[in-house]
């Protein structure tokens, strides 16, 4: 079955950047999914069960922390690997995010090579 990757960010250009960064994964058969806010993300996660989610913390409606907590704690979807994206200087959020069940965090601006390496490691055997 095809692996699925969900990119969640309220800013279109960040979604595009991550898509561009990870485009080579599509050649490996990874399906890319996108969400613009927390609510949409939660809906897609429940329906599609993506293997990996890049989740922005600062978002309107439902923020990344909440999404993470719902997915990991309330829905118990521990198999969904969640990487939180926090802005530099919001390091306080890191621990909070990990407490909410996030598997890992990355800071923005992210290092594209690092992001691709991590995503490849998780999505390709």
């Amino acid at each position: 079955m095809n692996k699925k990757l969900l990119i969640v960010d309220d800013e279109a250009h960040i979604r595009m950047l991550i898509e561009q960064t990870l485009e080579d994964l599509e050649d490996e058969g990874v399906e890319m999914l996108f969400a613009e806010n927390g609510e949409q993300a939660l809906e897609i996660i429940q329906k599609e069960r993506p293997n990996l989610v890049f989740l922005d913390v600062m978002m309107p409606k439902m923020n990344g922390m909440e999404v993470c907590e719902r997915v990991k704690k309330k829905l118990g979807l521990s198999e969904v690997y969640i990487i939180l994206l926090t802005a530099k200087g919001q390091e306080v959020d890191r621990q909070k995010g990990l407490d909410m069940g996030a598997d890992r965090y990355m800071t923005k601006p992210f290092d594209p090579d690092e992001m691709l390496t991590i995503a490849t490691g998780i999505l390709t055997p």
Binding site: L17, Q20, E23, D27
Partner: protein, 561 residues
């Protein structure tokens, strides 16, 4: 744009669920046509070959991306739509790629500034700069040069790759490099210029950028490649940005070190001020605030203590100073203070304030030390007067008054000017007692509170002098004179007549003024210097003829301060 990007764009349209696929499907249905799309490897991306005979190759920038199969010419409308969708998707991807490239640069500059902000020396900053630049700019060689104006020298601070130029070579080329640095421009060096320059003969591509801080240029960064990779304006801009960052970091590292030096200097200065100020503000005072040094003292710091306050006053100072010019006057006061200060300290006190014609001293451990110091000061003064008499100078005498009680020491003022301050009724009272010592003709006058806090009262001899009510005060104060400060002859006299004096005081308080007067007269007759006895003789004599109220307690009410 490589093949894979175009292929990806095509695949996105034909295979990824979304608006494009939906549009193509709807068009097929409406036009009632079919088409099929195969990539160059004959892999189907859309539809089935079926009976579709006609083909059109799908090209983009002279590269074959696949084959469009169709039957009805109506299907050509679909090809147009596909081309349009492809163009849009491809442009989107192209922009995405560019943005990602820029993003990588931002990320790299971000990393660089983070990395170099941790460094505090030019060498590390230079090394990190070259390393980070090599991550994003194609280069095999790098040179980080800085101009040292003090030595008029261009220094190689860091390098990357195998540069044949040695520092000696750089020294030889100093003037050229210096000029280049001072020009403060950045450029991609044309190939023919590289070829002509022996220093660059191992390179095919070279560019450089200045290390600029505001309007100064600290040096330059030169990058090069052994191969003919073409540096673009964007590459140069990137190098300029990196160099700018690097220069700023070097400048702030420099300022940081300068700052460190200044902090050090300031600390030295503070230490000096502290050493000096200790002489003005007693360290005991600072310590009593719970601080180690004066630099830790802040406005509003305060401490409450049980203390004995001693006021020492030079008698007849005005008369003495009238005969001296200001300089001699100052020297006299200094000579006096130099003799008294050590005595105060030896007995556990410290001088809180010099008052011109005397001083105020504080003792924190009860009044024993205060009284001992007072007696010793009188002793020292007798020695001093002996010296003075040899120089035909008039003797000096002092009066001492003391009081024990609570005292609040603190720092007052504003943030510009701080001063040690004491707020205490004990101080006021001590000053008034000292004033009274003139009135009573005593050398040392103290209160009941001082008597109570003596640990060894047996070391001294006292005469009780009754009660006074100070102006503005309700509670009368019991006064004692300590006779050990007097001239030896007078001391002897007072000691011998101690019992008689006490008896006379008893008679006085019992309102037996005639008897009291006679007794005081006896004492006074023996030594006319016993001024206190004379005072009470006069009082008793005066009271004999006065109407005395029933509640008379012998409290002397002071009407002046």
């Amino acid at each position: 744009m490589n093949l894979s990007t175009s292929t990806k764009a095509l695949k996105h349209i034909l295979q990824r669920d979304g608006a494009s696929r939906e549009l193509l499907t709807t068009l097929c249905e409406r036009l009632q046509v079919e088409f099929c799309f195969e990539d160059p490897e004959q892999k189907l991306l859309w539809g089935t070959r079926g009976g579709l005979q006609k083909t059109i190759p799908f090209e983009h920038e002279q590269v074959l991306l696949g084959t469009f199969y169709y039957q009805s010419d109506n299907a050509l409308a679909l090809l147009d739509a596909l081309k349009l969708l492809f163009q849009k998707e491809w442009e989107k991807k192209k922009i995405g790629k560019e943005v990602l490239g820029l993003y990588r640069e931002i990320n790299m500059i971000y990393d660089l500034s983070e990395l170099i902000s941790e460094k505090i020396d030019a060498e590390s900053i230079a090394r990190v700069t070259l390393q980070e630049a090599s991550q994003i700019i194609q280069m095999t060689h790098g040179l980080f040069l800085m101009y040292d104006p003090d030595q008029d020298r261009v220094n190689q601070v860091a390098q990357l790759g195998d540069n044949p130029q040695s520092q000696a070579y750089i020294d030889r080329q100093r003037d050229v490099l210096k000029e280049l640095i001072q020009r403060g421009t950045s450029a991609i060096v044309p190939a023919e210029r590289i070829a002509k320059n022996p220093a660059l003969k191992h390179l095919k591509t070279v560019m450089y950028a200045p290390l600029k801080v505001k309007h100064r240029t600290l040096g330059m960064v030169i990058l090069g490649h052994e191969e003919e990779v073409e540096y673009t304006a964007a590459d140069l801009k990137l190098l300029t940005t990196i160099s700018l960052q690097s220069a700023t970091a070097i400048e702030s590292a420099h300022l940081y070190q300068k700052g460190l030096r200044e902090v050090q200097e300031r600390e030295d200065a503070i230490r000096k001020v502290h050493d000096a100020s200790q002489k003005f503000v007693p360290s005991e005072f600072i310590k009593s605030l719970g601080k180690a040094t004066i630099t830790e003292v802040f406005l509003g710091d305060l401490v409450e203590r049980e203390v004995t306050v001693v006021f020492v006053d030079i008698r007849g100072f005005t008369t003495i100073s009238e005969g001296m010019d200001p300089r001699d006057n100052f020297l006299f006061v200094n000579g006096f203070n130099n003799r008294m200060g050590p005595i105060v300290r030896q007995n556990g006190g410290f001088i809180m304030q010099y008052l011109g014609d005397g001083f105020m001293a504080l003792f924190t451990g009860g009044s024993q030390g205060a009284l001992k110091a007072s007696v010793d000061m009188h002793q020292a003064l007798r020695d001093y007067n002996r010296e003075r008499s040899l120089k035909k100078r008039p003797p000096v005498s002092i009066g001492v008054g003391m009081q024990s009680g609570k005292l609040i020491m603190g720092i007052t003022g504003d943030d510009q000017r701080l001063d040690a301050a004491i707020i205490s009724d004990t101080v006021n009272t001590a000053a008034r007692i000292e004033g009274l010592s003139k009135h009573f003709g005593t050398s040392i006058l103290l209160t009941q509170e001082c008597m109570d806090s003596l640990t060894h009262p047996e070391d001294f001899d006292f005469r009780y002098l009754g009660q006074v009510q100070l102006k503005g005060k309700q509670k009368p104060i019991d006064l004692f004179e300590c006779i050990n400060g007097d001239q030896l002859e007078l001391q002897q006299h007072k000691l011998e007549n101690l019992a008689t004096f006490d008896h006379a005081m008893e008679l006085y308080f019992k309102k037996e003024f005639a008897m009291a007067a006679v007794t005081f007269q006896q004492i006074f007759k023996k030594n006319p210097d016993d001024y206190t006895a004379k005072l009470f003789l006069n009082r008793s004599a005066h009271l004999i003829t006065q109407e005395i109220e029933d509640n008379w307690k012998g409290v002397e009410i002071m009407t002046t301060k």
